[in-house]
């Protein structure tokens, strides 16, 4: 079990009990409750993980070069996001926090839409229903209640082929809203899957600062199942999420999934993790890389050859270039768009302010003439 000494995790990750289908060494293991589905596309998962990591790397570079105001890196969490994201049916609805770039990718969202937000061009420009992927939510844990309410709507529509998944982190489990979402989802048997990516840190606070017991056990007290999965194992994340979504659609209510993973990078580009964690810890987790184990497994079992990996790498390089170009091509919003979409229709006070500011800006132009 976890031993706490001064806030650091001293337990080796392999000692943690969790669902695993592919070991860090790239060995396939079976789990009685989660047999591998025949249609699992592991090569496709590999491709997605490599590509989203490339998006992430490019975005960090763009932030360093001043093109983005901020970036919240998903490095190390590719398996949790791609595994769960690919378990969703096209009709399932996903509610992200602000780090789910991998889920966004699985929902077919153009990475440029994410860059817009972190560049400060807008606060999220995509249509949530079009992609079945809600806007990013920055205030910690708020979206868990939105997801629960959305799931209650699905119940009222008597829809049996839809479920909801909501993403949040280990830190969020301390927020009142998250406990309230658990309570509501439980008493109403709402078809929602709570997908907690336990990446071990809420900025600097280790998971033990949120809970002395494993996070998945929170579900017990609320009366629904909780399960912990190796968050760096894309097959296990996929199988466990698919199972939970199926249960939700069948009317069995919510499930809490704790994907046990690690934030390999900083909380965001403004954070300096060397102030609160040891390099040795990072090294331990580097050996559990979510992509590397899939590559080893695919290569060893002959499912993929060198040409496949080279092709994916080339595709990633091309995507990186495209993401960079897309960022550079983003136009700055026009000044008066500040006033857009605050209300669905006219608003006398706001409209007067817009007119006043427009006249003010025109005054500069006239002065320049």
């Amino acid at each position: 079990m976890t031993v706490e000494t001064g806030g650091a995790i001293t337990v080796a990750p392999q000692d943690i009990e969790l669902i695993q289908l592919l070991t860090p060494e790239g060995e396939r293991v079976d789990h009685p409750k989660y047999p591998l589905d025949d249609d699992v596309d592991l090569k496709g998962m590999y491709r997605d993980m490599v590509l989203v990591r490339r998006i992430d790397t490019e975005a960090i570079a763009l932030q360093r070069q001043g093109e983005l105001g901020l970036w919240a890196s998903l490095l190390g969490q590719e398996a949790a996001q791609v595994g769960s994201g690919r378990a969703l049916s096209p009709r399932d609805m996903a509610f992200p926090s602000y780090r789910e770039h991998g889920v966004a990718w699985c929902r077919g969202l153009d990475p440029a839409r994410l860059l817009e937000l972190f560049r400060g061009v807008n606060q999220g420009s995509w249509d949530p229903e079009e992609h079945k992927f809600h806007l990013y939510t920055i205030v910690i844990g708020d979206q868990t209640l939105h997801a629960t309410g959305y799931a209650m709507g699905i119940q009222r529509d008597s829809s049996e082929d839809e479920a909801v998944i909501v993403y949040f982190g280990d830190g969020a489990t301390s927020q009142g809203d998250v406990s309230e979402a658990f309570a509501w989802a439980s008493v109403f048997h709402a078809p929602v899957v709570f997908f907690c990516q336990n990446n071990q840190y809420a900025i600097s606070a280790p998971q033990e600062r949120q809970s002395p017991i494993p996070l998945y056990k929170r579900a017990d007290g609320f009366g629904f199942p909780g399960v912990r999965v190796d968050g760096n194992d894309v097959l296990a994340c996929h199988a466990v999420t698919r199972h939970a979504l199926r249960a939700a659609r069948e009317g069995q209510g919510p499930t809490l999934i704790e994907a046990f993973t690690y934030r390999m990078g900083a909380h965001t580009t403004t954070d300096d993790p060397t102030r609160y964690r040891l390099t040795s810890e990072l090294e331990t987790w580097r050996l559990r890389d979510p992509i590397e184990r899939v590559r080893v497994y695919l290569a060893r079992t002959g499912q993929a050859n060198a040409a496949f990996f080279e092709q994916i790498d080339a595709e990633a390089a091309e995507l990186g270039t495209r993401v960079r170009q897309a960022c550079h091509d983003l136009p700055d919003p026009a000044p008066l768009t500040v006033f857009d979409h605050v209300y669905t229709g006219a608003n006398a006070i706001l409209d007067a302010e817009r007119a006043q500011y427009e006249a003010y800006l025109d005054g500069f132009e006239e002065a320049a003439r």
């Binding site: 400060g120 301390s174 600097s204």
Partner: protein, 327 residues
Amino acid sequence: MTKLTLSRALNEGLRRSLEADPKVMIMGEDVGKLGGVFRVTDGLQKDFGEHRVMDTPLAESGIIGTAIGLALRGYRPVCEIQFDGFVFPATDQIVSQLAKMHHRSGGKVTLPVVIRIPFGGGIGAVEHHSESPEVFFAHTAGLRVVACADPAEAFAMIQLAIASDDPVIFFEPKRRYWDKGEVDTAASLDGALPLDKARIVLPGDDVTLLSYGPLVRTCAEAAVAAREEGRSIEVIDLRSLSPLDMETITASVSRTGRCVVAHEAPVYAGLGAEIAARVTEQCFYHLESPVLRVGGFATPYPPARLEDHYLPDLDRILDAVDRTFAF
């Protein structure tokens, strides 16, 4: 005198308070080991221990609710809310409990809790990291609401806030955290300007310009620019947003006859509205023109690429000043 950043000045002030009173403690997200995301509490946990400088679970309502309990037990908690936009999960504890308990208990309970909130925009941040929620709290009876503007003020005001037996919402201008200024860290608090007093930053004769927090510096710069054009602006840093120091305000406006209020928060139902009403009531026969307000629009805080339009800058402030002479 030492030259300190505003962030460092707050750190020194907190340190002084921790040294002066063993009941003072600091609590919040990432305030311990990390030293706060703006490093305001840097090194304090190392020097005062985990019991006095506490990294809390990630739960703002929990931070304020347990601070109330600690205060009931005789402690003086200084809570950090990491960013302005994250205070709202705690508003039930602040508005329904913290603000009212002294009154409800007929004065038997005092809650000397300080809630530090970095506020305002101008740092190119993502959503919920640039807001100015001061008026929600100024509207709530039972809370003192203050904002510091420069390092020397920050150093003194944080200590005064901690010494206050009323709960204090303490706003820190986050885009000014790196501004440097002379601070007398050896000065006694006895000589400090009281927490509920405004301060004349630059004296002037033609118009009174009122502000607080991040815009005090902008207003001072506007006054310097206006001086070159022969216009004399008196700049006042309100410091206390609740209560307002109407004595200082009315003395100035009665002399200048003109008044402009500048804040980053939306003009609509903002603090400027309260000031304008009171100045109109109390200085009516001295006024040469209506009190004008310049501030944020009646919109959500915009994405970073638009914030320069939203935030009142020197030009917009001087435009408002000019308009007071057009009546």
